[in-house]
């Protein structure tokens, strides 16, 4: 049994040292898909935070009863159930956003971060630390998505939260609306942060 981590250590891991998007390059699919409008990004983040926290908690509670061989199957059904609940909730209470997000809410099921945390952390830690880990990791993911969306929405639509912020004559950058725009933004962002704050020996050697 590894030495138990304190909550603040777990938070530091999720938000910075082991940030799922920046350091582990996980959850890229949704990062590319939903970050062209801030409102959509926020709803997506809320959905993911709920799913990761609840799945980690559930997997952790059941960790001593779950047979090793079928643990992935069990995790999948747990994750899928929470995601469907999120999908129904958004469809019932935020119909417009549900429309805009289309299939991406359902695709949280396949977001590597969710099952990644169940496998890597929740299945051999106690419930509370697992919940905190899920929260920290999904907040780390959300933070990166929000930053990307704050860059993409003004350049692609000329707006921020739907309010016009760019000058009248500004020509929107169509590429920023599409997935390639997210590729460039994310790539530059990850490169910048890793070069500025290197963690591995190799990153230190290369620098900015």
């Amino acid at each position: 049994m590894p030495k138990p981590l304190s909550s603040s250590q777990i938070f530091l891991q999720g938000l910075w040292n082991d940030n799922p998007v920046l350091r582990q390059i996980l959850g890229i699919c949704s990062t590319l898909a939903v970050t062209n409008l801030l409102v959509n990004t926020l709803v997506m983040n809320a959905g993911l935070i709920f799913t990761v926290c609840m799945s980690s908690l559930t997997v952790s509670i059941l960790r001593n009863f779950t047979p090793m061989r079928i643990r992935m199957m069990a995790q999948t059904i747990i994750i899928a159930s929470y995601v469907i609940i999120v999908d129904i909730a958004i469809g019932a209470y935020l119909p417009d956003i549900s429309e805009a997000l289309g299939p991406y809410v359902g695709l949280i099921i396949t977001n590597c971060i969710v099952m990644g945390r169940c496998e890597a952390f929740a299945r051999n830690h106690r419930p509370w630390p697992s919940f905190v880990d899920g929260l920290a990791m999904s907040l780390g993911y959300s933070a990166v998505l929000l930053i990307i969306a704050v860059i993409r929405e003004p350049l692609g639509f000329g707006t921020l939260f739907g309010y016009r912020i760019m000058p009248e004559g500004f020509t929107p950058w169509t590429i920023m609306i599409m997935a390639p725009g997210a590729f460039f933004t994310l790539g530059l962002f990850v490169w910048f942060l890793r070069a500025k704050f290197p963690q591995t020996a190799e990153e230190k050697k290369q620098g900015l």
Partner: protein
């Protein structure tokens, strides 16, 4: 053997519990989701029939306005929403669904014509999966407004009721601006709206005229 049986029982119980919870949530929200769907469609129908509904209108207001101003009938399997004037005496237009394959997925829209079926009153697209900022601009007013007043006639040969051409001064009233950067979506819209309009004029309209 015992282990294997335990795995099966475990999975069964787990699935059962989670399926029960998900079903309960679904059943609990079903009515609300159904109302959302219905109100959304009614709002679109009212909009294309040029019946004013506020953006902030509550679900109940929309349902009431719809009840008062619109009657839905079936004509040879084609759903037709008949719009009535404020006093309910005269018909202001007919709305019917249009739709087809877009660039990424199906596009659903609603179109309305005046009581003589001589021109378009309004069009709106309400469900699609086109690219935001490009094909998804088919829902924007500048695009849908162009259709207003478009003269209608049954298609003959290759001649279409309207064309979507690159933005610029059109040659006639039936040349509308396509969406720059969304050629695929524009072509698809041109194709299925023309097709559905033609079908309406040829089949449904004749029956409506007869009564």
């Amino acid at each position: 053997m015992k282990k294997r049986l335990y795995s099966i029982v475990f999975m069964f119980v787990l699935t059962f519990c989670f399926a029960a919870v998900v079903s309960a949530v679904k059943v609990y929200n079903e009515e609300r989701m159904e109302t959302n769907r219905q109100v959304k469609l009614q709002k679109i129908i009212l909009q294309v029939l040029s019946v004013p509904v506020g953006d902030k209108a509550t679900n109940r207001e929309v349902l009431q306005t719809f009840e008062r101003r619109v009657k839905t009938i079936e004509v040879k399997k084609q759903t037709l929403h008949v719009g009535y004037s404020e006093d309910g005496r005269s018909i202001t237009g007919y709305a019917f669904p249009v739709g087809g394959a877009g660039f990424w997925g199906p596009v659903y829209g609603m179109l309305s014509v005046d009581p003589e079926a001589s021109k378009i009153v309004g069009i709106a697209f309400y469900r699609h999966s086109e690219t935001p900022g490009l094909g998804a601009r088919i829902t924007e007013p500048w695009f849908t407004k162009q259709f207003k007043g478009l003269p209608l006639f049954p298609m003959e040969g290759d001649k279409k009721i309207f064309y979507l051409k690159p933005a610029g001064p059109g040659k006639g009233p039936n040349e509308l601006d396509a969406i720059t950067g969304a050629t695929g979506t524009s072509r698809a819209v041109e194709a299925f709206v023309n097709r559905d309009l033609d079908r309406f004029l040829r089949e449904t309209w004749k029956l409506v005229k007869k009564g």
